[in-house]
Amino acid sequence: MTFAHMLAATLPALQFPSGADVVHLLPELIVGGGFIVTMVLDTLIPPSRKSWLAAWSLLVLLASGAVTVIDWVTVGGQQISVYAESFSYDRFGLFINALILIAAIFVVALSPSYLERQKIHHGEFYSLILAASAGMMFLGSSESLMMVFLSIEVLSLALYLLSGFRRGNTKSQEAGFKYFLMGGFASAILLMGMALVYGETGHTQLPAIAQVVAADLQSVDPLLLTGIVLVFVGLGFKVSAAPFHMWTPDVYEGAPLAVTAFMSVATKVAAFAAILRIFSVALTPLYTHWEVAVSAISILSMLIGNLVALRQTNIKRMLAYSGIAQAGYMLIGVAVSGSAAIAGVLVYLAAYTLSTFGVLAGVMLVAKGDDDSSSYRSLRGLGHAHPYVAAMMALSLLSLAGFPPLLGFWGKFFVFTSAIQNGQIALAIWGVLTSAISIFYYIRVILILYSPQESEQGGTVSWLAPARVGAVVVGLGVAATVVLGVFVPVVYHLALSARDALLVRIAAP
């Protein structure tokens, strides 16, 4: 078999991306293109006017957002595969894109004032953010193993650099390096898993794999299962699920606040999109096998995340553990097969994005000093100095804790309902008990915000006045948590239509 025959026989006709493909992936491409243009602009613009870069990247993101909205309306319920079935253009991808764009827009809006104060070099910051966003958006819509791996690598590399972005600050360097090494190792494991899955099923496209897996259910060969587990370990690392969460606290603490905010929110959204596509959709026939592992990881994450968070004295580390715990709750949705669970996870992702960002953005507005005034001691008494910012942070924390009128409650509620409806009551009970523990450390932060300011460590820690633009953006985010919490059907409908789009392919192969 000469190489030419093999080429012709197996690979579908290689053709340059047709016009339709470009249109369907426009949001991702805009951000990707934006990334490259920003790199070029960065060299041209004199250092003094670096903030123009922020404006430009904001423009790119907004454009991509607009296109996403338009696509949402035009695509309707269909699920079109693009670029030789490596990407899928559907409402699910657009939902994930929307969340990532929101996070990116928030970060880019807040970072000019933040970078100025922390005297961090603007330079490549915005381009790296755009690169990471592009990677995540690709991950959201990718439907073949290759594309999943590629987009993960794109976003990871950008994030490695971003975590180590603060020159001269040893913590930031160490964080970046740690993230790089662990990330590399995890990618290697993920890759090995993908290789085995490819090997055993013969395909890299998820729909094809789904068919193969669904076909011969009786004899499940161990290699395929190992592959699946390894893939889950790789993605588990990205989502910082429990046994593979060790990197999260150190990296979050070391990285600059803007990066921590972006990383903690957007990576989880993209990674969960991949997990949902692979596990909740493609590999559901093997559900009984991998369900035990996912439940165990979910319970472990909830436990470790909530318990260790009780002991933290730094808000970034506390939010890292809170992230681990929330990943645990979302994994309940993955562990519970069934379409309601997927909708639950999507709503949870939206709630998690808005709430976590609300907290970190609040600190970002008033951050001062090299530890970004993120330790509890330096946050004491913020409520009296800046009541508006403190109120925003308090509401976001309460939403994370799951108090009803806020969106955070609905995330947990939908996930728990799907768990009980499918009979996994144990998972729900674990979820409830651990979220009861979580209330304590969220409220402790609020207490610290509003506690009287002792000044025994010489001179009160003063905060910087929040920039007007930043305050407005944060206000919008927190207002969304409250308003969407009350009018939750809006979010729920979006999540439902995204889920239906996801399941179109499976329903009618």
């Binding site: 308090a394 309460l398 799951g402 108090f403 009803p404 009128p405 806020l406 409650f409 509620f413 939908f414 728990f416 309902t417 009980i420 409806q421 009551i425 729900a428 009970i429 409830v432 008990l433 979220s435 009861a436 209330i439 304590f440 409220i443 402790r444 609020i446 207490l447 509003y450 506690s451 939750v488 059907p489 729920y492 439902l496």
Partner: protein, 527 residues
């Protein structure tokens, strides 16, 4: 769909609009904030009064319990949640108490003055909307939303107004209560799945509960409880913490000690009674069989609360804590009335809820007025105040007598009915409750006499003034209500006749018509 004008939504909307109006007015115009707060409270009060007056004419719908002014709007059809409101005999009175107690809270805040009016009044009126929501909702999910959502404004209110111990007390209150509420959330979701995917009260009440298999611990084979019993326990414990019944009461004394009087009037007045409301509306009717299985345990807890609250009140030194423990003892009485599962007991419980609301509000106002005048809350440092303040003596005397259940005042009316209801369940209950009444007499008199009689304590400050006119005119209507309800308790009786019969029928204890003989308390667990 809603039939006719949605009055009940208005009852919720008015406070919310008031709160929004308050939050919008700049902090400088304190007087504007106060007028908004007063208008919101008064408007809700009159609205509720209107609803009560033509309550009998309103059309009633709903299967086990018929609700008036019912409203039903689809909200989350996919999971069967809908925005349903309704008013029945039981919730009518709770709503009335809610309106009165919050109006009182606003008035006391105006009289006593409060340092951050915008924050205080905004949160106060918002809490009123939340508690009204809890009382009015007839959809379990909506109920839960208001039930836990109420803690949000409460949290900010409790942690920013009060004395130095407020932070710890608030964390303890919020932390522990929410932990149990989440278990109730699970129970609600479980009921939802059992009722075929709908959160509405009627659907869940009509769910078929036969064929429950007892869950056994895998491996050990221990026979635990049926899932319904677990769900009932989740509900019961969540309400027991709110009531509070004794083992779960430790958050109450610390919190009541740290709250100002204006906060206490509505907190002790209505918020802590929603547990009782929960027991009657949800635990009793949705889990009739389980209520019977656990009736013995619940009665024991109620009696324990009565006696334990009384003993603690006897020994406490801080006057606010004494009143707090007396409140626990009184709530023990009310829960005894509920758990006796007899028609008269339930009538007594509803009547006593209103009486206790009035009495406890008056008591806490008086305690604060005394604390302001003598500068301390320590009982041993105060005595002989009667000479300086005859008006305070007179009003405090009526409230104390009403609190210890002196026949002729409103405390007795409720307690008589409750003890008669408990007597019908089993005579032992009435005797132990009787001991509770004697102890109540003892600690209430010790408090009243300790402060008022005996020669003036050398430690007390000079120049103590009697109640000012404004303060007098806050307490006089309350005392008048105590005397009026003591002599004419039937006002409460007529309205909830129908509902009490329905609750009894729904809890399968007595056929709605006659009252059975006082059968001895049987404990056989139904198959």
């Amino acid at each position: 769909m809603t039939t006719g004008f949605s009055w009940l939504t208005l009852v919720l909307l008015v406070p919310i609009l008031g709160a929004v109006a308050i939050l919008c007015t700049p902090r400088r115009e304190a007087w504007l904030i106060k007028t908004f707060a007063l208008i919101a409270a008064l408007a809700t009060g009159f609205l509720v009064l209107g609803l009560l007056l033509n309550y009998s004419q309103a059309a009633a719908t709903g299967s086990p319990i018929s609700f008036k002014y019912a409203e039903n709007v689809q909200w989350l059809p996919q999971i069967g949640a809908s925005y349903r409101l309704g008013l029945d005999g039981l919730s009518a009175w709770f709503l009335a108490l809610n309106a009165v107690v919050f109006l009182l809270g606003v008035v006391v805040a105006l009289v006593r003055g409060v340092d951050r009016p915008k924050l205080f009044f905004g949160l106060l009126i918002l809490t009123e909307a939340a508690t009204a929501g809890v009382i009015l909702s007839t959809d379990l999910l909506l109920f839960y939303l208001f039930w836990e959502g109420m803690l949000l404004p409460l949290y900010f209110l409790l942690s920013s107004f009060g004395n130095e111990k407020r932070q710890r007390a608030t964390v303890k209150f919020i932390g522990y209560t929410v932990a149990w509420y989440l278990l109730m959330l699970l129970a609600i979701i479980y009921l939802h799945t059992q009722a075929g995917g709908s959160f509405s009260y009627d659907a869940i009440a009509a769910r078929q509960t036969t064929g429950q298999s007892i869950i056994t611990v895998p491996g050990f084979g221990w026979k635990l409880l049926t899932p319904d019993q677990f769900a009932f326990l989740a509900f019961a414990l969540a309400f027991a913490i709110k009531v509070p019944l004794v083992p779960f009461h430790t958050w109450l004394p610390d919190l009541y000690e740290s709250l100002p009087a204006s906060g206490l009037t509505f907190f002790a007045g209505i918020v802590s009674k929603l547990g009782i409301y929960g027991f009657i509306r949800y635990a009793m009717t949705l889990f009739p069989k389980e209520m019977h299985d656990f009736q013995g345990l619940l009665l024991a807890l109620a009696l324990l609360s009565i006696l334990y609250g009384a003993f603690m009140a006897l020994q406490e030194v801080d006057i606010k804590r004494i009143v707090a423990y007396s409140s626990i003892s009184h709530l023990g009485f009310i829960s005894l009335g509920v758990f006796a599962l007899t028609v008269i007991g339930l009538h007594g419980a509803i009547l006593q809820v209103i009486n206790h609301g009035i009495i406890i509000a008056a008591l806490f106002i008086i305690m604060e007025l005394i604390e302001v005048r003598t500068g301390t809350r320590d009982r041993s440092l105060m005595s002989g105040l009667e000479k300086a303040m005859p008006w305070m003596y007179f009003l405090f005397m009526i409230t104390a007598l009403a609190a210890l259940g002196m026949p002729g005042l409103n405390g007795f009316a409720g307690e008589f009915m409750i003890m008669l209801g408990a007597f019908e369940a089993s005579w032992v209950l009435a005797v132990i409750a009787g001991i509770g009444v004697v102890l109540a007499g003892w600690y209430m008199l010790r408090l009243h006499q300790g402060l008022m009689h005996d020669p003036l304590h050398k430690g007390t400050k000079e120049g103590m003034t009697d109640l000012r006119l404004r303060e007098r005119w806050v307490l006089i209507p309350l005392c008048a209500a105590m005397v009026a309800l003591g002599l004419f308790p039937n006002i409460v009786g007529q309205l909830d006749q129908g509902s009490v019969q329905q609750y009894m029928a729904a809890s399968h204890t007595q056929p709605a018509s006659a009252i059975t003989q006082p059968t001895p308390l049987t404990h056989e667990v139904h198959a």
